[in-house]
Amino acid sequence: MSDTFLTTLMPQLASGAAHTHALGFVYEGVNGDRVRLRTPWRPDLVGDPETEVFAGGLVTAMLDHVGGLAVWTKLGRYEPIATLDLRIDYMRPARPRADLLSEARCYRATRTIGFVRAWAFEDDPADPVAAAQATYVISSDGGRKPGANLKPRGERA
């Protein structure tokens, strides 16, 4: 894996898109085949105003995204990928007003599918808030050109 990939492209893939930037994702780096992402706590990302805990949707978005980063880490390069299926188990409530970390590992990649496990936790990976099992389609664009989604459905780009 090239140094440029880890130092330049991965941080960009981690929080460079509009949604990931808006959520405030912070790239925490790669260790072997494991990659980490942090979301600093923010009041506008809360799911229940009474508890001040991150919304489930935020946990989902972060686990979905860190899983994608794990696929790219496994491949050692950028490829268009798309989440196919994502299951999340919530083991306990997140701590109020606390940052959430996530870690993911792509334990298998075939030519077309990446298989991923991921966790979300505050500081101890052994005490997770949530665990995810996910699959990603690799080379998901199927040759579609930039702007393909701007055309009406049914028309092939």
């Binding site: 949604h19 808006a22 489930g56 949707g57 989440t83 459905r153």
Partner: protein, 132 residues
Amino acid sequence: MTALLDTIPYARFLGLRTEEDGEILTVVMPFADHLVGNPMLPALHGGSTAALLELTAIAQVARTWPRLRLPRPITVTTAYLRSGKPMDVYARARISRAGRRVAHVLAEAWQEDPAQPIASLTAHFSMDDADT
């Protein structure tokens, strides 16, 4: 009446709007730039669509069976069926079973055509007010 989702910060972050037809809710996520995950196609981030589905499920359960606390997810599975285009997304949820402690919900999200959903959700929620 104020829609439940208007009181949830994350639903406001996504810009969700609730439409009511009797007991059935349709939740709309109007297209916005900050929902995009792939700027090339461009496509919505899967996390935007999944969060819409989860919040729709929560709102439908809370609407049908009001409790002291909001339903909390136990397991949530999202299948991504089609790429989310840079357009509004609609979502609706159906409660398959609501027990005293756990509710099971199915939800679908679509854009141009309800018969061609872009994502579907299957989830169990905890309904227990005493539970942590």
